[in-house]
C-alpha cells in the first residue's frame, strides 16, 4: 500500500467557543477519490476547511506529503498543492469568468491548460468575459471546480459539488471528475448525494458529531447499505 498523500489524525477544531471536531482520523492515498459522508453538522465542511488552514482554532495533526501542515497559513498550504472548491462556490462577483479562472497562481506543473478546462466545461468558454456574479448556479459550480484544476494542485477538495444543481449539470460534473482521476489528481469529496458519490469514490468515511465513525471501500458498499442508511438517516 502506498504512503498516504494526506493523513489526518486527532483533528480538533473550534468555532469561537463551540467545539466542532473532536478528533477526526482518516487518510487519502495518492490517486484516490475519497468521500466524506454524514448528516448536516457532522463536521465535514469544517474538516476540509481545517485541511486548507481556514479555521483559526485547530489542533491535532494534518500531514500532507509527509509534512505537518496544521500550523501553516492557508496560502502556504495552497502552495504545497492542496486546493479547495468551497461549498458556497466562492466565485468572485467582481471578476470576469476568465479572471476567476486565472486567479489562483500556478504552483506546479501537471495542471490542466485553459483549453483542456474549456473542453471539460464548454459553457465557461462562452461566458469567459461575463462577470462572475452573472452566472447561473451550475455555471458557478463549474467555474469553482475549473478554477482549481489549472494550478497543478494534487489534492482537490470539493465541498458538496452537486448541491442545488439540475440533474443534467450534476451528470456533467460527474463526467468531469471521472476524467480527472486518470490525470493523477487525488480527490476528497464531501457529498450529500450518496448515489452520485458512489459512482465516483474508491472509499468512504462516515462522520458524525465531529468524528469519523466508520469507513468502507466501494466494493464493500452493497453489504453495508443498511448500516449506511441508518448513519445518514435516508
Amino acid at each position: 500500500m502506498s504512503e498516504p498523500l494526506l493523513n489526518v489524525s486527532g483533528l480538533q477544531a473550534w468555532y469561537g467557543e463551540s467545539h466542532v471536531l473532536h478528533g477526526v482520523d482518516f487518510e487519502v492515498r495518492p490517486g484516490e477519490v475519497v468521500t466524506l459522508l454524514g448528516r448536516n453538522g457532522a463536521g465535514k465542511t469544517t474538516t476540509l476547511k481545517c485541511i486548507m488552514g481556514m479555521i483559526g482554532k485547530r489542533q491535532g495533526s494534518i500531514r500532507y506529503e509527509g509534512e505537518e501542515t496544521i500550523a501553516l497559513s492557508s496560502d502556504k498550504i495552497a502552495r504545497r498543492g492542496v486546493a479547495l472548491c468551497p461549498e458556497e462556490r466562492g466565485v468572485f462577483a467582481s471578476l470576469t469568468v476568465l479572471e476567476n479562472l486565472l486567479l489562483p497562481p500556478k504552483i506546479a506543473d501537471g495542471g490542466l491548460s485553459l483549453d483542456e478546462i474549456y473542453d471539460l466545461f464548454p459553457n465557461l468558454k462562452e461566458r469567459s468575459t461575463s462577470m462572475g456574479g452573472k452566472l447561473s448556479g451550475g455555471e458557478q459550480q463549474m467555474l469553482a471546480i475549473a478554477r482549481i484544476l489549472r494550478t497543478g494542485a494534487r489534492l482537490l477538495m470539493l465541498d458538496e459539488p452537486t448541491e442545488g444543481l439540475a440533474p443534467i449539470i450534476i451528470k456533467q460534473i460527474g463526467h468531469a471528475i471521472q476524467k480527472l482521476k486518470p490525470r493523477g489528481f487525488t480527490l476528497l469529496l464531501v457529498e450529500q448525494n450518496f448515489r452520485w458519490a458512489s459512482q465516483l469514490a474508491d472509499r468512504f468515511y462516515v462522520m458524525e458529531h465531529g468524528r469519523v465513525i466508520d469507513a468502507f471501500a466501494a466494493a464493500e458498499l452493497p453489504d453495508n447499505m443498511d448500516k449506511l442508511h441508518a448513519y445518514l438517516g435516508v
Binding site: 496560502d75 498550504i77 468551497p86 471578476l95 486567479l103 489562483p104 494550478t151
Partner: protein, 295 residues
C-alpha cells in the same frame, strides 16, 4: 468680456479652473481612501495628515538636500508609502476583523499626532514651495489666463487616477486585488499572500495621498494643517461617490470640485457647504453613494 447671467466669463472660468484643481486633489485623495477602505475595511483618517507629510517631504528634500520638484514627485510618495506600510504592519494589522470604529479612532489619533509634531516644529504658518522652472508662466487662452502649473496639476492627477483605475480593473494584479477585497479568506486559500497585499495596498493608498501633497505644494502653502482642512471635504466626496468605488471616487472628486467652483461664482455664501448639502441629498436618495454597490 461677455457677461453671462451677470457674471464675467473671466471670473467664471477662473473659478472653474480653481474648482477643477481642487477636484483633482479630491479625486486623488478619495481614490486612495477608496482603495484602502475596500481592502482594509478601514476609514483612513490619517489620509489628510499623510497628504501633508507628502508636501513637507518635498519641502524637506528641497530645503535640506537641494533635491527639486521632479525627483520629489517620486521620492516623497515612496517615503510616505514606506512609512504607511510600517504603520499598517505595526498597528492597523492588529485591528483586522474588529469594528470600523477602532480603525477610525487609531488613524484619527495618528493624524492628530503627526499634525501635532509638525505644528510644534513649524508652527501653523506655511512654508512656500517654488514652482518648478519648467512649469512657470502661463497661457492666455483669450477667455482666461491659464497658469501652466495648474494645467499640469489637473492633467497629471487625471492621468494618475486613470492609471490606477486601469491597474485595478484591467490587469492581473487588479483582479487579485478585487478578489482579496471581495473574499480575503478564500483568496488566501488559493495561495495568494493576502496580508502582504494588504500592506502594499495601504502603502499605495497613502503614497497617492503623498503624491497629491507634492503636487499641491507649489499651489497651496506647505502647512501642518493643509490636510486637516481638506480631508473633511474629501470624506464627503467619498461618501457621495460610494465607499470603496474606484470610478466613483474619481468621478465624484472632479465633479464636486467643479460644483464647488461654480458655487463660488453664482452663490459664494454657499461655497463651503455645497459639498455637504450634496452629500446629505445623495445619502437620502441613494445611501450607497452615486456609484456605490455595497457597503
Amino acid at each position: 468680456m461677455i457677461p453671462l447671467l451677470g457674471i464675467s466669463t473671466q471670473a467664471l472660468f477662473g473659478q472653474l479652473l480653481l474648482g477643477l484643481i481642487n477636484g483633482a486633489f479630491y479625486a486623488m485623495l478619495s481614490l486612495g481612501l477608496a482603495v484602502i477602505f475596500g481592502m482594509l475595511n478601514i476609514v483612513n483618517f490619517a489620509h489628510g495628515a499623510l497628504y501633508m507629510v507628502g508636501a513637507f517631504a518635498a519641502w524637506f528634500l528641497l530645503t535640506y538636500f537641494h533635491i527639486g520638484y521632479w525627483p520629489a514627485l517620486i521620492l516623497a510618495p515612496l517615503g510616505v508609502a514606506l512609512f504607511g506600510m510600517v504603520i499598517e504592519r505595526t498597528m492597523l494589522k492588529r485591528l483586522a476583523g474588529l469594528d470600523h470604529i477602532y480603525g477610525l479612532l487609531l488613524t484619527f489619533g495618528l493624524a492628530l499626532i503627526i499634525q501635532g509634531v509638525f505644528q510644534n516644529q513649524f508652527g501653523a504658518s506655511g512654508q512656500p514651495y517654488p514652482l518648478p522652472e519648467q512649469l512657470k508662466g502661463g497661457t492666455n487662452l483669450g477667455f482666461m489666463y491659464l497658469p501652466t502649473y495648474r494645467a499640469w496639476a489637473v492633467v497629471f492627477s487625471l492621468c494618475v487616477c486613470l492609471f490606477t483605475w486601469f491597474m485595478i480593473e484591467k490587469t492581473r494584479l487588479g483582479s487579485v486585488l478585487r478578489a482579496a477585497t471581495e473574499n480575503p479568506e478564500l483568496t488566501r486559500a488559493f495561495g495568494i499572500n493576502v496580508p502582504r497585499l494588504i500592506t502594499l495596498t495601504y502603502g499605495f493608498g497613502v503614497g497617492l495621498a503623498a503624491l497629491a501633497g507634492v503636487l499641491a505644494a507649489p499651489i497651496y502653502q506647505v502647512r501642518p494643517l493643509m490636510g486637516a482642512d481638506f480631508i473633511i471635504v474629501v470624506f464627503a466626496v467619498v461618501v457621495i461617490g460610494g465607499m470603496g468605488s474606484i470610478l466613483g471616487a474619481i468621478g465624484a472628486g472632479f465633479m464636486l470640485g467643479i460644483v464647488e467652483g461654480l458655487t463660488k461664482v453664482f452663490y459664494p455664501q454657499a461655497a463651503n457647504i455645497v459639498v455637504f448639502v450634496i452629500m446629505v441629498a445623495v445619502l437620502l436618495v441613494k445611501p450607497t453613494g452615486l456609484f456605490g454597490k455595497k457597503l
